[in-house]
């Protein structure tokens, strides 16, 4: 699914003394089925850009469209629905609920959709097998290893078969082996047709051969070297 940003700016606390300009006039096109890395130091605006693409909040000005639709500016009741169907998120700290089992964590995004428990389990088991963590299905998520946790987070992002995957610093808490494993999974997803945007300043990510394009962000602007 095509992602298109045109003149996107984001200002936090606009008009207040603590105003912060996080993004300025970003123009960006991410083609369908490509894997793009947003690279830049901490505080450069990568996560803000990812949040705007992910329709977490609208830009302060400019156009952010997914498949020509400005999802982030849809009325709230529609935005939630479209975001759920279109975008899968992988967070830096995975945001897994440690008390729930691995299976329950993965099926969590399906609960508001009213999908029958049997179908939820079927989809989850398919992903558990794909990521080789079936044996952990009934384990509380707090008791599994970092690598397994990462795969649970990916499985949760894919459970609704969204066409776009956004990952914010996904390897920040992983060692080299797990980071490579993560990128291998992303590559598989890209081959399967997903559009992937990863915000990261980890060389293992932005130098990975599967990355089609690396976008340097500095002080809220796209930096052309």
């Amino acid at each position: 699914m095509l992602i298109e940003l045109c003149g996107v700016s984001k200002i936090y606390n606009q008009g207040r003394p603590n105003e912060v300009r996080a993004l300025s006039d970003i123009d960006l096109v991410v083609e369908q089925g490509s894997m793009v890395c947003l690279k830049g130091p901490s505080g450069s605006g990568k996560s803000t850009l990812l949040a705007i693409i992910g329709c977490i909040f609208p830009p302060t000005s400019g156009r952010a469209a997914i498949a020509t639709r400005q999802l982030a500016r849809l009325p709230d009741r529609f935005l939630t629905l479209h975001r759920r169907e279109t975008i899968g998120f992988i967070f830096q700290r995975f945001n897994i609920l440690p008390e729930l089992t691995v299976l329950d964590n993965i099926t969590l995004p399906l609960l508001p959709l009213g999908i029958a428990p049997k179908e939820r389990k079927r989809r989850a088991h398919e992903l558990l097998e794909r990521f080789a963590i079936s044996h952990r299905a009934q384990f509380p998520a707090g008791q599994i290893s970092g690598g397994e946790l990462q795969r649970v987070a990916i499985a949760r992002a894919l459970i609704n078969n969204q066409p776009i995957i956004l990952a914010d610093e996904p390897t920040a808490h992983l060692d080299t082996t797990l980071s490579r494993e993560f990128m291998a999974i992303m590559q598989q997803l890209q081959v399967a047709g997903k559009t992937i945007v990863i915000a990261s300043h980890d060389p293992l990510v932005f130098e990975h051969p599967a990355i089609n394009r690396t976008i340097n962000i500095k002080d809220g602007r796209i930096h052309v070297p």
Binding site: T60, R73, D76, F78
Partner: protein, 335 residues
Amino acid sequence: MFLNPWSLALSLCSLVVLLLGAIAGRTAVRVLRFWEPGSDSNRQIRLENEIWLSSTLVAYGLGFQIITLILFVLAADQFCQVIVGAMCATGALLANPFGMPALLIKLVGVFFYGFWILLHQLDIRSEHYPLVRIKYLALLLLLPLLVLDVTLQTLYIAGIKPDIITSCCAVVFGEDIGRTANLMTGYSQQGLLATFIGSIVVLGLLGGGLLQRWRSWLAKLYAAGWLWFFGLALVMITTVVSSYVYAMPFHKCPFCLLKPEYHYFGFALYGTLIAAAFCGTSPAFAGLVRGRKGLSAIVARYQRLALILSLLLLVIFSGLSFYHYLKYLISGGEG
């Protein structure tokens, strides 16, 4: 009478609603001046975010203002305990010149506030913000009514003094016993009953016709029919229905029906009537915005639902209206 729990509750809540209205009024002016749905400007995006909060608050505020109609009548019913001569809300509302106008404005407000909430609900069901301008223009036009509503209510509460001597419902609505005419003098019960039954049949036929095939002119006629029926039903309740509920031929009062002695029968009666009249008039109102982008199917769905509800409520209201009358005819008395 401000130091009374009912007065305090009513006054404070109305002030909050008025404050919300004033804040939303500011947004309304900005929407009318700057709203550009196709723009990616900072101002437009800020407005889009702003209208969500202000519309929601206004919708809840107006919803509450509708409920104040009930609170207002209940408060008046409480006030009668300290006003000489008052036996129910009738006497309390006539204790100063602002009571009845306040009630009337609240009653009118139920429809107008309801129509605004309906506009809001239709608007948020479309992805394209099709009614934002209309909604906020309507809000600006509605604000004077809201101000009048709160002002009359405040003047009424402020004007209630325990030393006022007022008339009770028996004098205001009772049968003319040859001394003076009153509010209900001159209505023939048989004539009213026939008109009432005839109106129910006509409304039923109009509604049935609309259900068969939707026609815009018929919906407008149906709405006009409901406005007529609403007024007629209020007269009918006072002059005919109430006597049978009280089982006293000379006692006619639209407010005593709300008392616990009569099992709060009035709440069911008036509640059904107001809801039915709103459902009956709103399809024609919603029809005015049916042509807006993305609203055709949403409005059509609402119109059908409101029409069915209005017919259903008409049946319930008719049943409630005739319950005591038929009971009297069948059992030959209070039975």
